[in-house]
């Protein structure tokens, strides 16, 4: 026990005396947590629309007014030439082109039907779909308005209702009624920051001793293998807990106003397990790597995949089956999910039993592998 205490003291001194490293551990993640959620907003708004009006009639003007009044669209061009509008799309100044053909009003009234041409920049497919469907909705509303105005005279409100059965849909958004995207992103980003710190720091720390040669000195001391490993893991476990706490309360609660709905004890219990699993991964990488550059490359490679597959940015449910399986083998996925469930929805122990079990599995698996692979002999 005394040995462990001295080892821990050595590690903490090493960390706190490295003036370049300290801000990277404590300040950089918090600044990122402050800034990044502001950037991660997926809502589609401010769609730039370029309008070509070849009709210049009362109807076309009314339609244009409806479009700009809808709040989704910003008119960035208004002209007669498709070429000019298309150039705006090429230069990314416009996302959508709406072309109203000549004779729009006349044909609509006389022939009873008229088409409109809409071209969408679909490089970003999901944004294009949403933009097109917003525009279609505006056009539909406009169309309904016209029809109403052409109804036979004497047709008052009641008769109008009589013809059309209306299904009114009421939608409610539970757990996040104002659809604040930050509530969704902050827990996820916090998880990735804690993950990155723990895995990198842990992986690099041991390899550094290898590279500089100081590990030889430890190898020839009577310090036991498990004590040495514990001495390396515990400091990062504590740093992980600390950064997480500051991020959750200092930034999540105070800056973004995220009030944890669920049991914090449960969350911290899960976090402790998660950190053990993560440190196991860091340790495993360090047992295989010889130089810091190698350790970093390998750690970075896996972190990248872990982060992308974790459901932080894109939904896990939309993945194909094989990818969903991979995502389930990723500890980060489970923790992000649990964070969101416990923090936002107040889920209890029964709801997170499965991820909890998986995490115990991960922790045992990675740490056993790492310890088996770590040799005190050269």
């Amino acid at each position: 026990m005394r040995t462990l205490y001295f080892l821990l003291r050595k590690e903490f001194k090493q960390i706190f005396r490295n003036k370049a490293l300290l801000p990277m551990i404590f300040i950089a993640p918090l600044i990122q947590l402050l800034i990044l959620p502001l950037a991660a907003d997926y809502e589609v708004k401010n769609i730039n629309i370029s309008i070509i009006d070849n009709d210049h009639s009362a109807y076309s003007r009314k339609l244009l007014k409806d479009i700009t009044a809808s709040g989704y669209f910003k008119a960035v061009g208004y002209g007669n030439s498709f070429q000019a509008a298309f150039r705006q799309i090429e230069q990314d100044q416009a996302d959508l082109i709406l072309e109203i053909p000549a004779g729009f009003e006349k044909n609509l009234v006389n022939e009873g039907a008229q088409s409109l041409f809409i071209a969408v920049n679909a490089i970003n497919g999901s944004k294009a779909t949403l933009g097109a469907s917003y525009l279609r909705r505006v056009v539909e509303d406009f169309n309904a308005g016209i029809r109403l105005s052409w109804m036979p005279a004497g047709n008052d409100q009641q008769v109008g209702n009589d013809q059309q059965a209306v299904i009114e849909t009421v939608s409610s958004n539970w757990y996040n009624p104002f659809l604040n995207y930050r509530f969704f992103m902050v827990p996820g980003i916090l998880v990735t920051l804690v993950t990155m710190i723990c895995v990198y720091m842990c992986a690099l720390n041991i390899v550094k001793e290898k590279e500089i040669g100081t590990i030889e000195q430890i190898n020839v001391t009577p310090v036991k293998k498990h004590l040495f490993i514990l001495g390396k893991l515990i400091p990062f476990w504590i740093i992980g807990l600390f950064v997480f706490t500051v991020g959750l309360f200092g930034i999540g609660r105070l800056v973004y106003g995220i009030v944890p709905q669920g049991n914090l004890l449960l969350l911290y219990g899960f976090l402790s397990l998660y950190l053990v699993a993560l440190l196991g991964i860091g340790l495993l990488i360090s047992t295989y790597a010889e130089t810091q550059q190698q350790a970093m490359s390998v750690a970075f490679f896996f972190m990248m995949i872990f982060m992308l597959m974790s459901g932080l940015f894109t939904s896990v449910d939309s993945m194909p089956a094989w990818a969903k399986f991979l995502a389930n083998c990723n500890p980060v996925t489970h923790f992000i999910k649990v964070m969101r469930m416990v923090l936002l929805k107040g889920s209890g122990f029964a709801d997170i039993q499965f991820p909890m079990l998986m995490m115990v599995g991960f922790a045992i698996f990675f740490n056993t592998w790492a310890i088996l692979n770590y040799k005190k002999t050269v």
Partner: protein, 368 residues
């Protein structure tokens, strides 16, 4: 010149004799292309929804069958009580619930007015809004059908054409982003670490006392990563065209020319980091913590830049990958020529000159 080539040879040996570092050089782009091409999508498919059908009549059956046909949804189960609804949301089993009240069909036929409730799990706001609007459009189309007897002419038919990406593939958006990300990270990380490593191990001293110009030592370090990055780029382009079926509209030569510039920008950024730090650990943490997430965010391929607060949009302008991303989109997907990208190219050039000037100013030929 002979000195220079032998230095470059030395650096190539450094890279190739370290297979674990090659993993990040070539394994990462391949993995990213595969993941983004096949696994990651912004679309929402197979969302698990439940229907609380208190009505159990013809109209509610109609709506349920329409919902189950849509491949955006998979109807998970039917629940009959609000308590069950709450616990299903909490366990994360469902993302959306549709509640159809009793006497739905009667209300619709006789009162001409019926209500439906859509409840979404808005802890994921993006999914919630998208699913709600999907569900709403399914219900709307049902309603349209009910009304179709009363059609009064005066119909506007919008014809929608999706430019550049008619199949709405996610890859079209992601591949240029992955290119920017991989090139930037590989160059910044690898150069900064490999220079600092020589400092840390003390071999830098040997290089600096050699008769070779110390500045050239640094340039020689950058050469292998420049060559490897170009190879990487070729690999990504080949994979995205061959494996993902992406179009390549513009000039290949132009893409490679501009990419070379971008790689040099990234290399000079790596140089700057290595000149300002003395330990590998710090260099790595700066390149990773300081670069990875901001690059992912501010390049604009994951989150639309125009939604960000103005201050962040200004910051995003300082991220080189943002400009490169826009260039790649213009060349590869839109097939535009140099006239469309000269502005972005000029900005990248300016950044490169700026970064190089600072890092050469900071470069010391003396140790400590």
């Amino acid at each position: 010149m002979k000195q220079f080539t032998s230095f470059v040879r030395k650096e190539f040996y450094h890279v190739f004799r370290d297979p674990k570092s090659l993993l990040i050089l070539f394994g990462m782009p391949i993995t990213l292309i595969v993941l983004f091409g096949f696994a990651l999508t912004n679309e929402i498919k197979n969302a698990r929804i439940v229907v609380c059908d208190y009505a159990r009549d013809a109209a509610s059956q109609q709506i349920i069958s329409r919902l189950s046909v849509s491949n955006n949804f998979s109807i998970h189960q039917s629940i009959m009580s609000h308590e069950e609804l709450e616990s299903s949301f909490k366990s994360g089993n469902i993302q959306l619930a549709i509640v159809i009240p009793a006497h739905f069909n009667d209300d619709l036929l006789h009162l001409k007015h019926a209500q439906l409730q859509i409840i979404a799990d808005a802890s994921d706001p993006n999914t919630a809004t998208t699913l709600t609007s999907y569900a709403q459009s399914v219900i709307n189309s049902y309603q349209q059908e009910l009304r179709s007897y009363h059609k009064s002419g005066l119909q506007i038919i919008p014809e929608i054409r999706m430019l550049y990406n008619p199949e709405l593939k996610g890859a079209t958006n992601f591949v240029p982003g992955v290119m920017a990300l991989v090139l930037l990270l590989v160059c910044v990380l690898m150069t900064s670490v490999s220079i600092v490593r020589e400092k840390e191990l003390g071999t830098m001293e040997l290089l600096l006392v050699s008769p070779f110009n110390p500045m050239m030592v640094i340039v020689a370090k950058a050469v292998p990563y420049f060559v490897l990055s170009l190879l990487n780029l070729a690999l990504i382009v080949l994979l995205s065209v061959g494996l993902l079926g992406m179009p390549f509209q513009g000039s290949v030569l132009l893409l490679f020319a501009v990419s070379s510039l971008f790689i040099i920008t990234a290399l000079s950024l790596g140089l700057l980091i290595s000149n300002s730090t003395s330990s590998q650990q710090t260099a790595m943490l700066i390149s990773l913590m300081g670069m990875l997430i901001p690059t992912m965010m501010f390049t604009g391929f994951l989150f639309p830049l125009e939604n960000m607060p103005v201050a962040l949009q200004v910051i995003a302008n300082a991220v080189p990958s943002k400009w490169y991303y826009s260039i790649v989109k213009s060349i590869m997907i839109k097939g535009l020529g140099f006239s469309a990208i000269w502005k972005e190219t000029l900005i990248l050039l300016g950044m490169t000159i700026f970064l190089l000037t600072i890092s050469f100013k900071k470069f010391k030929t003396r140790l400590a």
